[in-house]
Symmetry: C2
Subunit: 320 residues, 2 copies
């Protein structure tokens, strides 16, 4: 048996958890959370030490009534000092709204699956790339501060198409970096990734994107999200998406988790001695509120039920 010194692998000292519950979570949930509750959610997440929150999506209200109040929610988030609020933007029209709202970041999804891209945005990936180029030009023309993150979705496989070629992921990353995206992220949109796949794909994309590969987005559909995070941590990744109570499941897997639960990710990182700035008790209290707002919806996550180990020092919010 070989014993390489893997425990000596340098893991990051600090990691940012980006809260996705208000966007990736709520978009898949029928319950419409009132705007006032969303503001309370953001306020409480901020008080718990979260400093990056995706607050909504600039899509037509007809398509996603749950997120119809995104402009108002974003305006509130912008009043909280040091909070980096992002919005999802599926197309040029949405980007215009994000620019008009002076969003700090907009997240543009680009599916590496041809079939998923057609189903989701009614465009093939290269047409999405062309639209991102137009969005970037518009951003520059308006002189807006809004930064562009391109999220490569279905990067590890697709429920419609099946296999997604890693070459295609790398090609699309290169294309959006060439046209001036400020950052890219890799998303396991449907919970197909395993830690070996994560290690391989992140390593390849890091060679192309370097510091511009900024985030990993793992759905916990089959329980592997935290193992996938660990694999990405070992490659030096320092930002991960997560969703309060793991909300935001996949329509192809009824009852399954969405994004990895914020509480579980915060716990794992805290246990490993990685600073997140998050106050765990406040996070669990927020989960309780979200559970009340989403009564009847399926929630996820493990640590809220089990509680922290006796051995773990509770982290104080570093920003408090």
């Amino acid at each position: 048996m070989q014993t390489p010194s893997l425990s000596a692998t340098t893991l990051p000292k600090q990691v940012v958890i980006r809260e996705m519950g208000l966007r990736d979570g709520l978009q898949s949930i029928a319950t419409i959370v009132p705007t006032a509750a969303k503001l309370e959610w953001i306020r409480d997440a901020y008080d718990a030490g979260e400093r990056e929150i995706e607050v909504g999506s600039f899509v037509p209200a007809k398509l996603l009534p749950q997120l119809a109040d995104t402009a108002e929610v974003l305006a509130f988030a912008q009043t909280l000092p040091g909070l980096r609020a992002s919005v999802l933007v599926p197309n040029f029209k949405g980007a215009e709204r994000a620019l008009a709202a002076n969003a700090e970041w907009m997240l543009l999804p680009l599916s590496a699956s041809h079939a998923h891209s057609l189903a989701n945005l009614r465009k093939v990936p290269d047409d999405v790339v062309a639209e991102i180029a137009r969005i970037r030009a518009e951003r520059d023309a308006t002189g807006a501060r809004t930064k562009i993150e391109v999220g490569i979705s279905t990067a590890f496989g697709c429920t419609i198409q099946g296999e997604v070629d890693p070459h295609e992921v790398v090609r699309l990353v290169q294309a959006v970096l060439d046209l001036g995206a400020d950052s890219v992220s890799l998303a396991d949109t449907v919970g197909y990734a395993d830690p070996a796949m994560v290690a391989r794909l992140f390593e390849r994309v890091l060679r192309v994107a370097g510091d511009r590969l900024t985030c990993g987005h793992f759905h916990d559909t089959r329980g592997l999200a935290l193992a996938n995070v660990y694999a990405a941590l070992q490659l030096g990744m320092t930002r991960f998406d997560a969703s309060t109570a793991g909300i935001g499941g996949c329509p192809h897997a009824p009852g399954a988790s969405g994004n990895v639960a914020t509480e579980d990710l915060a716990y794992m990182l805290g246990s490993m001695g990685i600073e997140t700035g998050i106050d765990f008790d406040k996070l669990i209290a927020l989960r309780g509120k979200v559970a009340r707002w989403l009564e009847g919806e399926t929630l996820h996550g493990s640590v809220w039920r089990a509680g922290l180990p006796k051995t773990m020092k509770i982290q104080e919010a570093a920003h408090a």
Copy 2:
């Protein structure tokens, strides 16, 4: 950002999943599963490709009526060619029964937590070590084939005592190896481990035990079991305990998972291209049966609900 070539880390090509549901699972569950159902469980697990099953525990029937039929269950398991059946043995009396039953393996728990050892076996760890020495001498005196595995429990912390010193774990491993244990395993009995802790402790114990450190036993109390398995895989570990439907929770964490779910572990390993010999569909069918036998009990695991990814080749049982 550093990009060490971690994806090139050599992971094992084959891994054994040892089924713990019938022992570690049922011992924590009030429902008494009839002997006939246990035999069906073992038969089905065997048909699904499982080749190592812990079938019960030689403890007084008064203490664990759920496992009172262990001798009968073991006798049945011994009729299945190539199945390695083990039994848990908490003391000398239990060992005598295991030897009389001609068990192939007996698993002797040795808690690294002083407080847990007292609570569980009413002995301090060094007295347990002394008893293991007596058991080993008895085994040799009888000429029985029964091999001795010492499972170091609470190796990552304890709900009663809190911290467990890794030095103590290493000291106890050394002690039982010195007295002739055939193998040792490390158990996160209460779900306190994280992947960084696993990497550190397994690396230390591998230096002492080498090939005689044969198994990792991770409870999924806080959702980290699969991440912990991945950390141990990276150190070359090739055997992990798991429990059908994740049964066997901890009394200190009501509703929390016990051992990592066999289905989730088999899925992760299969997805990573690691051979387990397990037929996934048969495993899921078995889970359905166990769910009926345990109606009303809390079950766990993710992949049974979500199903396999479209991209994944179903593994055939290698032994079929």
